[in-house]
Symmetry: C2
Subunit: 238 residues, 2 copies
């Protein structure tokens, strides 16, 4: 290991954000429209350079605040996904990008950044094809979030501070793309200590009709034991 700082062609280090939310009953992702080449006019994940004195995590949270326009992003779930480092992933120069996933409960309208023509929420299913390798990053983020719903209490990160069990179930169904049995889901969630806490006396009408649903808050638990497994992928060992 030599440590001549200028021995190599410099690497740029960036962060890319896969910011997911649930809007209009569908999984949506925050995208920006590129204003310049390469990929001018294409949608891309928001992101930017890691600055000289900040970590990738710090950079990701800064970018998240800038792109969403949210005043306080301290409580939001932000998680490192993986790092993408193929030599030609950006045609201009060598860019190594640390990707993050963020989960948002509500969906404020984003604001366009400096080099982005537009910014907005797009349904996950109609999001591609994206610039660079961002399709891969987004797919990896979806897979990671889907897997984490199984064995963590992450689903509450998609919900507002107070939510109904129907809304929580909808998070699972939307991310997994499968329907769940409501009675069983309900029992499972309530049987996991610390997953949710009842808000005494509170109730809310959800679909305009039907019985008002009791409200819950996210509890202190982070892990699900035993896990809440997806019904799919049975008998597919390979």
């Amino acid at each position: 290991m030599e440590y001549d700082k200028y021995a190599y062609e410099p690497f740029a280090v960036t962060v890319d954000l896969a910011v997911l939310t649930i809007r209009d009953g569908a999984l949506q992702v925050l995208l920006v429209e590129r204003g310049q080449d390469p990929y001018a006019g294409h949608w891309a994940l928001p992101g930017g350079f890691v600055e000289p004195r900040e970590s990738a995590e710090t950079a990701a949270r800064r970018e998240l605040a800038e792109e969403t326009g949210l005043a306080d992003v301290t409580g939001l779930h932000l998680e490192q996904l993986r790092t993408y480092s193929e030599p030609d992933r950006d045609p201009r120069m060598r860019v190594v990008s640390v990707a993050f996933t963020a989960l948002l409960p509500d969906a404020p309208e984003p604001r366009a950044g400096s080099d982005a023509a537009r910014a907005g929420w797009l349904p996950y299913d109609s999001a591609g094809p994206l610039a660079f390798d961002h399709d891969t990053i987004l797919a990896d983020a979806h897979e990671r979030v889907g897997a984490k719903l199984e064995y963590t209490c992450l689903a509450t990160a998609f919900c507002p501070p107070e939510f109904t069990l129907g809304e929580l179930q909808h998070v699972y169904e939307t991310v997994w793309g499968t329907a769940l049995d409501r009675p069983n889901f309900r029992r499972k969630v309530l049987a996991t200590p610390g997953f949710v806490e009842a808000v005494p006396g509170a109730a809310r009408l959800t679909g305009g009709r039907g019985k008002p649903a009791a409200l819950y808050r996210a509890g202190p638990a982070t892990a699900l034991h035993p896990p809440l497994l997806r019904p799919s992928r049975e008998g597919r060992p390979a």
Copy 2:
């Protein structure tokens, strides 16, 4: 995003490897003794620079081959762990490191590299304290591998091409640090289609005594459904 390559202090991008194996019935990790400051004389994870035309994965596999001296590392399990990017993790300059975990079945004696005074296998439990933030990386690797044993067929990556179920169980017990019930473990493994495949007629004596054990090969499956959960951590929701 400006793309002036020299606008910032350059970032170095490196890979660090947490290479784990099971030797003498214990979890061991491949370490190198640093020959120079900082941390001269301390043990560290092997690693090195990502070269201009290679991805982090390619660099990791190259380093793995160099450090272990194995001729063919193509089949070995190598997995990206996460990226460590705290600004002061290396006192000399800004180094962003992509960490990988590798799992080895047998344990060839490593050879010392260019800047390493020595290289060797050390028991996981007596490995610290390491140079830089390598204690954190190693602990993260252990946690990740332990978690992946639960829901993937990864354990076979610690085993030679043909192995007994007792050896496979020993992988779980060593990584998790808990004892497992042999009959139940056996049933669970054999009930998962594609986890292991019997080698017809083959058997081997393991401890010098006892009934010869049937031999198995790793099967085509990669996932475990349902998972094989660790017995510990019950009733700890927080």
